[in-house]
Symmetry: C2
Subunit: 472 residues, 2 copies
Amino acid sequence: MAAGTLAHLSPLDPKSPEPYYRQIYGRFRNAIASGTLNPGDRIPSARALTQELGLARGTIDAAYGLLAAEGYIQARGQAGTMVSPSLRPRMPVAREQPVAATPYTPSFRPDSILPFQMGLPALDVFPRKIWARLGARAARAMQPIDMTHPAVPGLPALRAGIAAYLHVSRGIDCAPSQVFLTSGYRHTLELVAQALLKPADRVWFENPGYPPTRELLAAMRLAGVAVPVDAEGLVVAEGLRLAPKARAAVVTPAHQSPLCVSLSLPRRLALLDWARRNQSWIVEDDYDGEYRYASRPLPALKSLDRDGRVIYAGTFSKVLFPSLRLAYLVVPEAQVERFERTQAMFAGGSPQLTQAIVADFIAEGHFARHIQRMRRLYAERRDATRIGLERVLGAKVRIDEQPGGMHLILRLQGRRSDRRLVARMREEGLFAEALSDWAVDRDIAPALMVAFTNIDSTATAERLARRILPLM
Amino acid sequence: MAAGTLAHLSPLDPKSPEPYYRQIYGRFRNAIASGTLNPGDRIPSARALTQELGLARGTIDAAYGLLAAEGYIQARGQAGTMVSPSLRPRMPVAREQPVAATPYTPSFRPDSILPFQMGLPALDVFPRKIWARLGARAARAMQPIDMTHPAVPGLPALRAGIAAYLHVSRGIDCAPSQVFLTSGYRHTLELVAQALLKPADRVWFENPGYPPTRELLAAMRLAGVAVPVDAEGLVVAEGLRLAPKARAAVVTPAHQSPLCVSLSLPRRLALLDWARRNQSWIVEDDYDGEYRYASRPLPALKSLDRDGRVIYAGTFSKVLFPSLRLAYLVVPEAQVERFERTQAMFAGGSPQLTQAIVADFIAEGHFARHIQRMRRLYAERRDATRIGLERVLGAKVRIDEQPGGMHLILRLQGRRSDRRLVARMREEGLFAEALSDWAVDRDIAPALMVAFTNIDSTATAERLARRILPLM
């Protein structure tokens, strides 16, 4: 495109809190999502756009860099820059997976903090003093009206705080009334099923994937369909082949759980297209979308949802801490009433006190600061952990390159059993997880999953690795 | 009986914290429940037992008075005192009730405190300073280990505190491991259904009864069976006629919700007998068992459960406050593992902070003191409300005599529509409930239900009554 195509983009807003590069990035993304720009369309070179907009070259480079990193655009040398031609889903080959009947025991969440334990943020650096101060203040401020039945979907101040946060950090535009508080991911998924699904409905889930998802689907008498994951995330085409008429899909687009790959833009668009045509639901489990280290966090899939098919599921377990028991979902505007009715039927709301503390924590800026601090810290701890493990374990493992997440994936070289190794490690008080346990397909390459969030240095990682070595 | 029967009773314990009259009462109750004493059996006169035990006459009178008030024994003049012959269930006549399809809207729990509003304790007198102090302390005390996933069934200290409390005040013997915390009655009932029932199972519920029970059963795809309630509580014989093979029964034995009558001993035994023979479950919803004014609180039905068929459901919403979102259930020992598995599947546990505060509140004696204070206060407020309403409304209403509860039942004389009156009252900011809305049988006598817990004096009640009068 030249000026002609740029005319389709809405003008930049000098008063927006979003920096220009984010605005440019967002404009292109929306133009692609809405079909204004199509796969293969040429777009101006960074230099041309710099001139056209009268902005610094660095601004345009940052926007284009982000668009390229996420698969939206490609630089083609002489041919210029274009919208990625691969934005149509390809058709990878995969086998149909039978759903495992054996339940995954919730042993991965004991009331303890063990080395490598997944699902825990860095608890040692949580701003507990600030938290205690806000907690004491909220407890003192409690009036009789705060003691009555809380609004079931959540405290208005907290819903508003979440909506504002999602707008800035995840690119989601929603009203506070679309935000529903829950007591955690399991409650979230249950609420979605209660509101939108009925027994025997088919639901895609990721394979490998977070075991509670497939267990919950089965426990709720839904027919789970295991859809494989590859380097671009959920293989949408395979879902289409296995169960084209499924009523819903549960996905982890930001950093696939557990492989940490991001769902590529072509896949995102294919998934949205399927949901639109089929009137199906997409549950976007965005449990750690903030923790991306290669670039700024990707906007949520929900930010591309033009047809009201995406239910966005967030949680405070990873960005604050799990014992808060607070998670939330954002539902399409047209579904607000249905979720209000369903939640009022099955739930009584979350405690006023914890909600009030979190609302204050967000409103006073502690939340944004904490997440930024954690993003930097986790990038450091990830590198430290990787280096420490590689130094000691050497060629016995190959550690995946991945853009984000809260754990590393250690591929076991030589086809050892990851389950046996994990069992031995647990006897030694080391709490890794076996990738095989997260897969329905038993042929998956053996790998350990080890969280790095609570590993404070390379030295610590080396020390831990030396405890693993004799077990391998 | 003379000494011969007494020999069947276990000896009194001079070191027990229970006063002798409670011990005697308990021994007789257990002897009746276990079949050692049968309906129609003679028991010693109070005078004879006084001599035999060497205790003060007042002690025996107190024990016999309690046993008589609860229907266990009867004084028959010359014939002496005997175990009530009516301890076999009678067969009252009732019609089969179709289950209402119209949902009861949860409009009865707005985020406000309106006059007469049901389900709220006296919020004005809650010890908020103590609460705030414990809250601040718990927030300050939070360590990293307290931030991990909490034990799903609940904090050990809280489960232990609840078990000890139930032993003393509700006559329930259970281990802390049998106690499961939930986020409220709805969550409790859902958990029971998830653990023990399957779709299309038939479940008795009380008619009239707390509307969410029948709604939840329907929402969970269970087949609710409306069983009538009379002056002795649930008409068990009618349940046996309507659905003898039902898988469960949900009952409110202490003060039936909403009629406030107590489930009589014959009915209790008949219900337990049915559950035992049929291997069915009894859910005892003991939402306000503490608030009995005529005598000491009745022991829970669960205290008579010899066969592990009763699931006891308690809540902190009435004895502390609703926005805590903490309730609990006690499950039979043989079901502990099943509930552990089920709860781990569907729920993530309650927030650590609120649990820690309640555990401290119980451990430091504030809980027992608060309940005792409230029992006295509610007795006063009930009398004040009754007097104030009767002074103004006079012959237009007849107020039920009832042994406990947190609301009064105002029978409308002259067959006015309670629904229309309630609608008018709500327009005036008065939040009564219509008994008709709580019944599946639409022929129920019209009555208002008005909570007295937040009405502080006769003058207040009169003032409120003067606002009702023109609407009648």
